[in-house]
Point group: C2
Chain length 383, copies 2
C-alpha cells in the first residue's frame, strides 16, 4: 500500500535504534523504473536542516532513484559532522543499490540540535535494503512517525496508473509546508518538468493551506517519484487532479492528527478580490491564538475573527463583513445577526465562513484549536 | 497619582453598572489647562471599534480637553446604534464640562459585538463629573481594568514638570499597539506637533515591541494630554526621554500582568543589519507557539528559536547564528555549544539573545510564555 501501490516501487521500514522505544525509525523507498523522473518541494524556512541542504542539490537534475528517511532526530544545526552523516547515509544507500549518491534524497525528522548516531543509521540502511519489498509501503509509513498517533497513507487510482503516498506530521504545521515529510509515487509516465508543475499546483492548495500552529519547520520535504512502470502517459490535467486529491487527502490526515487538537477548523473566505486576499485572511484567522482558544471552549467568538481580518491588507470594507460559524451567520454587515447561542461547536469539525464582499475569489485554510493538550505536548517534552 | 500627578488635571473613576460585579467601570480625565495640546495613536487594526472611529476625528486638530473611558464593553461591531452611543457619551461629557464634544476622546474595552447600555454610560458620566478631583488618578486607573489583576500607573519627574500615566491591558497585546488603553498627562508646555513626535518615538520602542500573543485589538488608544500648568517648556529630547521612560514602565506592567503567563520573556536581537531586521526577528520568535510553550516547560529549546529566525527576511547567514538563553550560549555558529541543561528557566524573567552577526543594530521585543492558564482564560470565558 501507500508508496508501493504504484508499480515499480519497493520500500521498507525498520528499527535502526534512533527511537529509544525500539520502534521502526528508518524508511527506504526505491524507484525501480524504468523512468526516474521526480519533483520535490522543500520548506521555505531559511534555516534548513542538513538533509534538506543535501537533497536540494540531489533533486536539481530531476532524477531521484531512492528516498531514505529517518525519525528520531532532525539532523538540523548539528554542524559539519551532521552534514557528513547525511552524506554517509546517502552513500550507503547508493552503494547497496548500485546507483549514485547524487540520486538519493535524504529526509530526517525529530529534535533540532541533536546529532544522529551515524552507525545506527548506516546499519539501518543495510537492514532496510535487505527488507525492500513491493509490500513495504505500510512499514515505511510507520517508520517515519514521530508524535503521530497513526501512520498516514493514500492511494489514488488513475486510468491504468496510480498515485501512492505517505506522510508524517503532527504539529508545527505551517504554510509553505508543514513539519512534514511526504513521499509520493506514481507509475504514470510523466517527465520531470510536468511532475514539478503538478506538484507545485497540488501542494499550493493542500499542504500550503494547512496552518496548525503557524510554526514553519526546518526539515519539510515533499518528494514525488515517477517510475513510468504503467507505460501510460496521462494528461497533465488528469495527473494534477489526481495528485491534488492525494495531497489533500494526506493534508486532512495530518490535520486530524495534529498534536493535542480537539477541533479541525476549516476557514473559508468568500467574496475576495483575489485568491491571495482570501488566503491571507484565512491564514490570519488560523493564526489567532485568541480565536483558536475560543473554538477549544466551543465559543463562537466572531469578534476575534473580525479582529484578525482587520490585521490583513486584503480588500474589504470593515463596515460590511459577514461571518458564519457552522453555517449560522452570527454577523452580517459587521453587526450582530443570529444569536451565537444557536451555534453548536461541540463536534470536532468546525466551519468558519467570512464573506469579504469584494469579488468572486475564495480559498479555504485549515487549522486546529489551541488546547491544554497542545500546551502540554509542546512544553512537557522537547521536540 | 497617575494621570493626576501633573498639575492641571482632574480625574475620577466610578461604577456605571457595566460590570456585573458593581466595580468601577467608567473613568474621566480632564485637562484644565491652560493649554490643551494633545497627541494620540490608535490601533493599526483596520477593523476599528466605534470609540476609535469617533476619536480619530476628535484628535485631528491636536486639541483634547477630556478623555472618557469605559470597561465592560468594547462597543465594536455594534452597528449605527453603537456609534450613536459613543457620540452621546462625548456630548454628555462636553455638556457637563461646558466644552465641545469635538474635544472629547472616547475609549471602550470589553467584548466585541455587545451593545453598551447607553443610559448606564450617561449616568456614569454624570457621576464621574461630580467626583472629579486632583486625587482621582488612582480611581480612574482602577475603572479601566478588565481582566487586569492590578491597575497600572506611572509618574516620571522632569525638571519642574511631570508625566503621569495609566494603562489597562492584560492579553491581546500585539504590535502597533496592544489591547490597551493608555492616558498620559503632563504639565509641561509642549505644542501638539512635538507631543506627536515624542509619543510616536516613545510608543515605537515600548508598546509597539510588546507582543504577548500576536493578536491585535480593535480598540487600542494611547492619548497624551499637555496642560502646560507647570509653565516650563522642556527640550523635545528631555521630554521624549521622560515619555519613553513612562511608556516603557507601563509596557512592563502590562507584560507582567498578561493573562495566564508564567514567564516574562525579553528577546534581544543583536548584530542586525538594521533595527527593522532586529524587530522582525524578535517578533517572529515572540509569535512562535512552540517556543513559548517550551519556555512554559522551562525547556531552553534553541531549535525552536532558530526555526523562527529562518522564517524572516532579515539579513543573516543561516550557518552562523548564535543563541543564548539566560546568558548561556547554547548555540554558536549554528552548532550546539553550551549544554542546555545548564540553563535555568525556573524564574519568571527569561532573556533570549540572538546574534545575527550582520551589523550593529539591535532591538528587544517582549512576550510571554504559552501556558495552560492562557488557554483556560481565553477558552472558558468570552472576552
Amino acid at each position: 500500500m501507500s508508496v508501493t501501490a504504484p508499480a515499480g516501487f519497493v520500500a521498507a521500514g525498520v528499527p535502526a535504534g534512533l527511537k529509544s522505544t525500539g520502534a521502526k525509525d528508518l524508511a527506504l523507498v526505491v524507484n525501480e523504473g524504468p523512468t526516474h523522473d521526480s519533483a520535490t518541494v522543500f520548506t521555505a524556512n531559511r534555516c534548513k536542516a542538513n538533509p534538506v541542504l543535501w537533497s536540494q542539490e540531489v533533486v536539481k537534475d530531476g532524477v531521484v532513484r531512492a528516498v531514505v528517511l529517518n525519525s528520531g532526530g532532525a539532523n538540523c544545526y548539528t554542524g559539519p559532522e551532521g552534514f557528513q552523516t547525511t552524506h554517509a547515509v546517502a552513500e550507503r544507500v547508493a552503494e547497496r543499490l548500485g546507483i549514485g549518491a547524487g540520486d538519493v534524497v535524504v529526509c530526517s525528522t525529530g529534535l533540532i540540535g541533536l546529532a544522529n548516531p551515524r552507525e545506527h543509521l548506516l546499519d539501518g540502511v543495510d537492514a532496510a535494503h535487505a527488507a525492500l519489498s513491493a509490500d513495504g509501503g505500510a512499514a515505511a509509513a510507520e517508520a517515519i512517525m514521530t508524535t503521530d498517533s497513526v501512520s498516514k497513507q493514500v492511494v489514488v487510482e488513475g486510468a491504468g496508473w496510480r498515485i501512492g503516498g505517505m506522510a508524517k506530521g503532527a504539529g508545527m504545521l505551517a504554510p509553505q509546508l508543514a513539519t512534514m515529510l511526504v513521499v509520493l509515487t506514481t507509475d504514470a509516465v510523466v517527465p520531470a518538468a510536468d511532475l514539478d508543475a503538478a506538484l507545485r499546483a497540488a501542494t499550493r492548495v493542500s499542504f500550503d493551506r494547512l496552518d496548525s500552529d503557524g510554526c514553519m519547520s526546518t526539515n519539510d520535504t515533499v518528494t514525488l517519484l515517477a517510475s513510468g512502470a504503467s507505460g501510460i502517459t496521462p494528461t497533465l490535467d488528469d495527473f494534477t487532479q489526481a495528485l491534488t486529491q492525494a495531497c489533500t487527502d494526506l493534508a486532512m490526515q495530518l490535520l486530524k492528527d495534529a498534536e493535542g487538537a480537539d477541533h479541525e477548523i476549516a476557514i473559508t473566505v468568500l467574496g475576495a478580490a483575489s485568491e491571495d486576499d482570501a488566503v491571507e485572511v484565512g491564514r490570519s484567522i488560523a493564526r489567532s491564538n485568541l480565536f483558536k482558544a475560543a473554538v477549544f471552549g466551543n465559543d463562537p467568538n466572531w469578534g476575534r475573527v473580525l479582529a484578525s481580518v482587520g490585521t490583513t491588507t486584503a480588500q474589504f470594507d470593515p463596515a460590511d463583513l459577514d461571518v458564519a460559524m457552522n453555517g449560522v451567520w452570527v454577523c452580517r454587515a459587521s453587526t450582530p445577526h443570529a444569536d451565537p447561542a444557536t451555534v453548536d461547536l461541540t463536534g470536532r469539525e468546525v466551519e468558519v465562513t467570512v464573506d469579504l464582499k469584494s469579488g468572486d475569489a475564495r480559498a479555504t485554510v485549515w487549522t486546529n484549536d489551541l488546547t491544554h493538550a497542545y500546551v502540554h505536548e509542546n512544553s512537557a517534552y522537547s521536540s
